[in-house]
Symmetry: C2
Subunit: 171 residues, 2 copies
Amino acid sequence: MKTKKILSQRVVLLIFVAASLVSCNRADKTTSSGEEVTTPSFDLTSAKKEIEAANQEFMGLLAKGDSVGLANSYTIDAAFMGGGAPAAEGREKIQSAMADIINSGVTKVDLRVKNVFGTEDLLAEEGELSIYVKDDVVDVGKYIVLWKKEDGKWKLFRDIFNSNLPAPAAK
Amino acid sequence: MKTKKILSQRVVLLIFVAASLVSCNRADKTTSSGEEVTTPSFDLTSAKKEIEAANQEFMGLLAKGDSVGLANSYTIDAAFMGGGAPAAEGREKIQSAMADIINSGVTKVDLRVKNVFGTEDLLAEEGELSIYVKDDVVDVGKYIVLWKKEDGKWKLFRDIFNSNLPAPAAK
């Protein structure tokens, strides 16, 4: 029965389409020879570039002294885990922490991505940073940032760092 | 046309089955009554308990002053990102960093998991810590640990923390 055969073919086609739509974390590619190749859809090399771009934006906002813009670089449920104080949780406290950094005289932060790990849902960045007051490097350190996408944009979800320099002698 | 209607229903059913088969990050279980139950394969609540157990083991090794055991709690490609020095990369340097901590007089570290995020492949832990010398708390702080499984066991892959206490006055 011809109708049945056509419908069966449609079943196969539709199953294939449905399978393609729901397959996650994987992109199916077809080579020129028609072979199907399955590769992870989340590319850490691209993700690293995206994080480098997000860091550029962050550094620009800091150089401008824009504490509101900096706070908006964090997710609404973010924690900024700077040293010398408990974590600042949420945008309001993070904005206040950013204003404190700006008001302390910091004019520039240089962020250098070393590695990224994880997935589209939660990306962990390992990096190194230098903190400047005018043209002088006043601190160098290392950090881990957990990034999440909010409205399709990478935002800082957890941000922790410490100094590589020996602590001043205790009181 | 009745045949067409039945086949259409089959299309819908088969799409649903296909979608179920290819959905990932999920484990399919069958109950004793034969019902199929779909549950997330990675359970963050269980993962949190596993990390708490791993932390208990870590705290035990530190209390015993076992720098070799502590170093073996880290993955072979781990980085210990303590403050006041660049990251210690690899087990040899991590063991040396652990020995330094023990030799500095630290007798106990209390690690308290706040949250875990991520997947079976890379778990991020957010926590709070207290550092003891004998019975005295000498520091309190916060940390992020990235955990990876090595030989089926959670091991520290990146470990960064800082103090909540104000830094001593600069030199």
